[in-house]
Amino acid sequence: MTWFLSHLDDVGVFLAWHVYLSAVPLVLGLAIALPLGYLARRYRWLYPPLILGTGLLYTIPSLAIFILLPLLLGTQILDPINVLVAMTVYTIALLVRTVADGLAAVPDEVLLSATAMGYKRFSRLLRVELPLAVPVIAAGLRVAAVSNVSIVSVAAIIGVSQLGSLFTDGFARAFLAPIVVGIVACVLLALALDLLILAAGRALTPWLRNRRAS
């Protein structure tokens, strides 16, 4: 506890980096997964390769990807951009299937009536399909958020500082306090992101509340 209080500033900076490195990829990943998921839903033949392909990305060990990316992107090994890109890739891996399945869960008669009312394809997607896919997409996003918070900490090994740095620091000095603080901070951050997405999902789906209320 005394260690935590005396290193409050350091922990704060690590936390800020951790939020940045795990949350920004969540947004970027979602932005890229939406069109990919839509394509997988729209063109049936694309579904298996897209889902399998993006799914395989998730099996690449994070350490390997952190080290490989600078070679592919021509960036410095310490550049946080590598971590951002890597986490975005993982988010995409988790969300493409979620988006495709979320869109597939929209009832056929709703699609049919939307088309019959005179919605064009894109506005139907925007106004009808995506709002109805929100519960499924939000559930996938929660998994991705927690997964990101956990994987980002590995980046401490390649020297990109965030809460994971507390683990490497603690290990190097055989000192337990920073490790405990790091774990607690990670869990709290994951919980906070999870609740945030849950709340946003609820706010976007008012029709799922008050079922059959009088």
Binding site: S113, T115, A116, M117, V128, W207
Partner: protein, 370 residues
């Protein structure tokens, strides 16, 4: 008027869903497409608003080739109602009804006022306006579906088995109200159903389609029931078509005066009124038939609890089918006839209704011959 001109829909695998279909749905009338599953009735309907594109042939709406209009624009001008309503679950009832006006760029206040007006017209409590579809019953949702289709006041409506997913009692109510609405609005309606009774009840004209989307017969319900053009049509229309055709036969039957007592009448009064007859008709406070009693078995004044309500009641100005049914279902064998406001006019025995039916038939066939 909607006109199909040799319209064919053939799928790449060679299946012909609709084969060389030509028919007309006249302006202001309900044209029902009916037939067994696989007869292409829904496919035909969806080709009208280009949800499905015909392989060949043209469909014109009031003289304009629908194939030449932008599909989204075309659809905004055509009301569409489907089974299970297909409401948008994420929008409130009023937002659902405002869908097409919003797509057409109406001012929000005007669209909302229109939606509220329509809720009232289709018999929905305005308190439902801000609820979501999952808070409504199936029948209520279907009313919203009809209101939504009517929102931009389209001249043409397409309805695909709109009432088949609700229970029979609700369905009958929806059908009656739909007919009432149509009598006020006079839309050009194409209505798909697999239920011949619904077709006969709602249709001004009925087109019977056979498997493969071939037109077997198109005619008014009365003609279809009386003169089916082929064995297929006869089979589809069903065995009791002779009886059902009576629904279209009006005719005068003379009503006898029927002795009655009011609800609450004493045993003595009832026995005196019946004058030895086994059954006696009881009227409610408004003079409407409430049911029958057997005065000989009465132990207490006539109360609503022990009335026999087995008999149906027919409007004196209604069809002979109703009158015959009233007579056949009445425990006394005397069918109860009422005025449009439900007040008792008198009773008629089944034999006299049958005589009226026969007289009507002779009148019709001789009228047709001359």
């Amino acid at each position: 008027m909607i006109e199909f001109d040799s319209v064919t829909k053939e799928y790449p695998d060679g299946t012909v869903a609709v084969g060389d279909l030509s028919l007309r749905a006249p302006t202001g009338e309900i044209t029902v497409l009916v037939g067994p599953s696989g007869c292409g009735k829904t496919t035909s309907l969806r080709m009208i608003n280009r949800m499905i594109e015909p392989t060949s042939g043209t469909i014109t709406i009031d003289g304009e080739d629908s194939g030449s209009v932008d599909p989204a624009r075309l659809r905004r001008g055509i009301g569409y109602v489907i089974q299970h309503a297909g409401l948008f679950p994420h929008r409130t009832i009023v937002q659902n009804i405002m869908t097409v006006p919003t797509l057409l760029g109406w001012d929000g206040g005007k669209a909302k006022a229109r939606a509220m007006e329509l809720m009232e017209r289709v018999g929905l409590d305005p308190a439902f306006a801000d609820r979501y579809p999952n808070q409504l019953s199936g029948g209520q949702q279907q009313r919203v579906g009809v209101a939504r289709a009517l929102a931009a006041d389209p001249p043409v409506m397409l309805m695909d088995e709109p009432f088949s997913a609700v229970d029979p009692v609700v369905r009958e109510g929806l059908q009656d109200e739909f007919l009432r609405l149509q009598s006020e609005m006079g839309k050009t309606i194409v209505f798909v159903t697999h239920d011949i009774d619904e077709a006969v009840k709602l249709g001004d004209r009925i087109a019977v389609l056979d498997v493969g989307g071939r037109l077997a017969q198109i005619a008014s319900p009365a003609v279809l029931l009386a003169e089916p053009a082929s064995d297929m049509v006869a089979d589809f229309v069903g065995r009791d078509r002779g009886y059902r055709a009576l629904a279209f036969t009006g005719g005068q039957v003379r009503a006898d005066d029927e002795p009655t007592v009011p609800l609450g009448a004493s045993v003595e009064d009832a026995r005196a009124a019946a004058g030895g007859a086994r059954w006696l008709l009881v009227l409610d406070e408004e003079g409407r038939p409430a049911g029958w009693v057997e005065p000989a078995k009465m132990a207490a004044p006539a109360s609503a609890d022990f009335l026999n309500r087995g008999g149906t009641v027919a409007r004196a100005d209604g069809s002979l089918r109703q009158a015959l049914d009233a007579a056949l279902s009445s425990p006394s064998g005397r069918g109860v006839l009422v005025s449009p406001d439900g007040a008792l006019i008198g009773t008629v025995p089944a034999g006299r209704v049958v005589e009226a039916i026969e007289a009507e038939r002779v009148h019709r066939t001789e009228g047709g011959a001359s």
